[in-house]
Symmetry: C2
Subunit: 487 residues, 2 copies
């Protein structure tokens, strides 16, 4: 069979399975998602060791990533088991309205259809085959086809087995979840462009995300594409905080720059501060903290080469000076590095605004707060912006907050951007190039909103309505009825 | 100044005005939107007469359309004045969680930026310069640049004056609303592709919507485009209803096909029924009802030519037979027409699945319910699907409802699809080719969701939070706090 015929068969199976799965109740989906979590846990140490071997990351890291991943499946299970996520809205009939009566209208969110997921290299569990895109799409009632990442095929295969078992145990159609193993770009293109595909989720590089978006744009019928492509996650270190807590923040940011060998989409790529004796101390403390860190292997040769190229290109830019670096010649090892540059030079050089995926951070020394704020204002879209400041700082520099809000999906105060909490209020999104659509998030419960559409029933007899919209609210969910939330 | 320089200046002004307008409170926006409504009303008969002269539609129609339009501005005013529309979500800190505490996260919706609006020809008020796209974007806190429709320049200019007065009276920046008058495609392209443009709303033809989408896809930074492009709005007439109420429905659908000279995006373009003596009676009654109607002028020569071409192409298709037609030679007058075709022929001819914008409807005579359901299942995306059935019908043919749900944004029971109610639960959307993104609606209060993005504040001091997210809820809005709706 040709690749095209294979992909076509897979997507047609997905469409067929969707016709069954879209009508499953929230309770059925909850049980299924919980079973997925148990089946992933049942893979035991083999999963952790396989993921570690395929990524060069420590086994212990995958104990944590597995826990997070299984939590996410259970949280989405709870969300759809409870049911209020469908945003039911009911406007009752107004028979007395003139000149014509107001009809009764009831609406809720329903699943889009088969979703194609492209996972990330750096989180083979939390952001890949069993990641948030897959979990949120399955929770919505969509079927999922994952294009497995070529850097961790064995991990993906183990996970696919867990899905197969979970579907079998819940007597659900096999094709609700399918894994495509292929390292050709053609497979990604065919998946994105197939007639049955109703949406695409992507986590990875800017180049990768742009390519998938282009494939989608070649379709006759447009479909939603949500690509999360990382960013440089600016950190603003305000003067009083540097004075009072500079050393402690240097320790925190040395951790944040190097966690996962810097291979996090929320890694702080630039740090903005006003040059002063305190800022010099901070930079020195950051270098000393980095000196305590070990050098580790990166995910792959390609990723390491990209990192070193990006790093060297940055270091060769006019006005950029290396502050500290640590490396060794061992296979795939990543150079830890920080560099600095003056604000006006940074501002004028777009090369320095690009993400460098690895344990590197660039300190931007501004001549004053006006320059710092202007640099922040002119940055591209970001997943996060972090503001480090004492009460005094924050009272004095409120305008930093409004600038941060205009460029980022999440604004972190006195913390590090790495480590994205999965909650109702999470936003892991932002304007391009952080993502392809700033109106959505790929982490947190609202990630489900990417894969659903509203449908409105006008003057529909009660017995034909989905339970979510029936007058007596049999599911006991929160609904907006005539403008008020009631349950 | 070149066109490019002009457009660039306009969009840069819009971006600058946005920096002020985005921070206006809900109350300020409400007052502004109410003033817009009053200023439109203050234009008096001149507006109605101008719109009538530019569209060949009766003055009386514009009294109604003006009322609807002003209502929409006041409804959006009420929405943002009340404030709960920002979907505030708060997850409190959990200091005891192991291994690390859960941070406090608060999120809400904020405005995207300058929005470009392309209005429709057929509703110079409700779906054009002062239409739902403009009203919802301004309510969100976005600035708006309208590309005026070349068929009603004078109406647009009057409306622009009303906006100018409303801005002046509220001491808001002029450039919150701008009108671009140009009949060149190049202007639309430049507006869509300008760097400052954060989103596009379009209402019009499939060709027009596709062109705008293509322009947007050529941008480096993708932006949301919501194009509402109409559909054929299938009507399913079930057997018992035809038997019992066929004549009454024939009267209703003769009205629905001809209202606004058939120039409605929700006009019932096809009517599906199972051939029987009752269906023959229905068709005859429909023809008789049409015979009572007058023939009116269409919006323009171009629209009339397109209509006649589409109508003639349909009538020339194999198996299509004209049931009734009424016409005259007067300038721009539209031929009223209905035709019929057998189900199997309709199913195989995609030409018959295209929208024909004008007072024409095609009756599809199916050999049985299975064929009817299969035709419905295979239709393209639709704004609406209408189901006409008695209790007996609906009990017997429940599967019609699930098929309708899978293809349409709104399902109307025992009513006509024309006349879109503006309410909380309204969905005026649907899968392509009805729109470019089935996740949104262009009518109803949720139309505002197209122009906003979530932003999350993590561990933000209370005094730096927007009022919507402050702990003591000073605005008294509905919020989801730790998973529960409270006010």
């Amino acid at each position: 069979m040709t690749l095209e015929a294979q992909i076509s068969q897979i997507m047609n199976h997905s469409r067929e399975a969707f016709l069954t799965y879209q009508d499953c109740s929230g309770k059925v989906k909850k049980t299924f998602l919980y079973t997925v979590a148990s089946e992933i846990e049942a893979l035991g140490d083999e999963l952790l060791e396989t993921a570690a071997a395929e990524t060069n990351l420590p086994v212990l890291r995958f104990a944590g990533e597995r826990e997070r991943t299984c939590n996410v499946f259970r949280m989405f299970g709870n969300l759809v088991g409870e049911g209020s996520w469908v945003d039911a809205v009911i406007d009752h009939r107004d028979a007395d309205r003139k000149p014509v009566h107001r009809p009764e209208m009831r609406k809720m969110l329903i699943a889009l259809g088969p979703i194609v997921v492209f996972g990330a290299s750096n989180f083979p569990l939390a952001y890949a085959t069993p990641g948030g895109d897959t979990a949120s799409a399955l929770a919505a009632g969509c079927t999922v086809v994952v294009k497995g990442h070529p850097l961790h095929p064995k991990t993906s295969r183990l996970i696919a087995g867990a899905f197969r078992n979970a579907l079998l145990k819940n007597r659900l159609p096999d094709h609700i979840f399918q894994l495509v193993e292929s390292d050709s770009f053609e497979a990604g293109k065919l998946l994105t462009q197939h007639d049955a595909t109703a949406g695409v989720g992507f986590t990875g590089s800017l180049n990768g995300g742009n390519a998938i978006l282009k494939y989608a744009q070649q379709r006759t019928a447009p479909i939603p594409v949500f690509a999360e492509m990382g960013s440089i996650n600016p950190v603003v270190l305000l003067p009083d905080s540097l004075r009072q807590h500079g050393k402690a923040w240097a320790t925190s940011f040395a951790d944040s720059v190097t966690i996962g060998v810097g291979q996090f989409c929320t890694k702080p790529g630039i740090q903005l501060l006003v040059k002063s004796p305190e800022s010099d101390d901070y930079i020195q403390c950051l270098a000393e903290s980095l000196a305590q860190k070990k050098v580790y292997r990166m995910l792959s040769e390609g990723i390491r080469n990209n990192y070193l190229e990006g790093l060297n290109r940055t270091l060769q830019q006019k006005g950029v000076s290396l502050v500290y670096s640590k490396t060794n010649d061992a296979y795939l090892n990543a150079e830890l590095a920080i560099a600095k540059v003056k604000g006006d030079i940074f501002e004028d050089n777009p090369q320095l605004h690009k993400e460098i995926f690895g344990p590197f951070s660039l300190i931007v020394e501004c001549s004053n707060m006006e320059q710092l704020v202007e640099i922040l204002r002119r940055l591209n879209g970001q997943l996060t912006t972090t503001i480090i400041g004492t009460d005094t700082d924050l009272h004095q520099h409120r305008n930093v907050v409004s600038k941060a809000r205009n460029i980022a999906g999440r604004i972190v105060f006195n913390g590090t951007p790495t480590g994205v909490e999965v909650a109702n209020a999470t936003v892991h999104g932002g304007q391009y190039p952080a993502t392809t659509d700033p109106r959505f998030t790929s982490v947190g419960m609202d990630a489900i909103k990417r894969w659903v559409r509203p449908v409105c029933f006008q003057e529909c007899p009660d017995h034909l309505l989905p339970e979510e919209l029936q007058e007596n609210n049999p599911l006991g969910i929160w609904r907006k009825v005539d403008g008020e939330f009631v349950r």
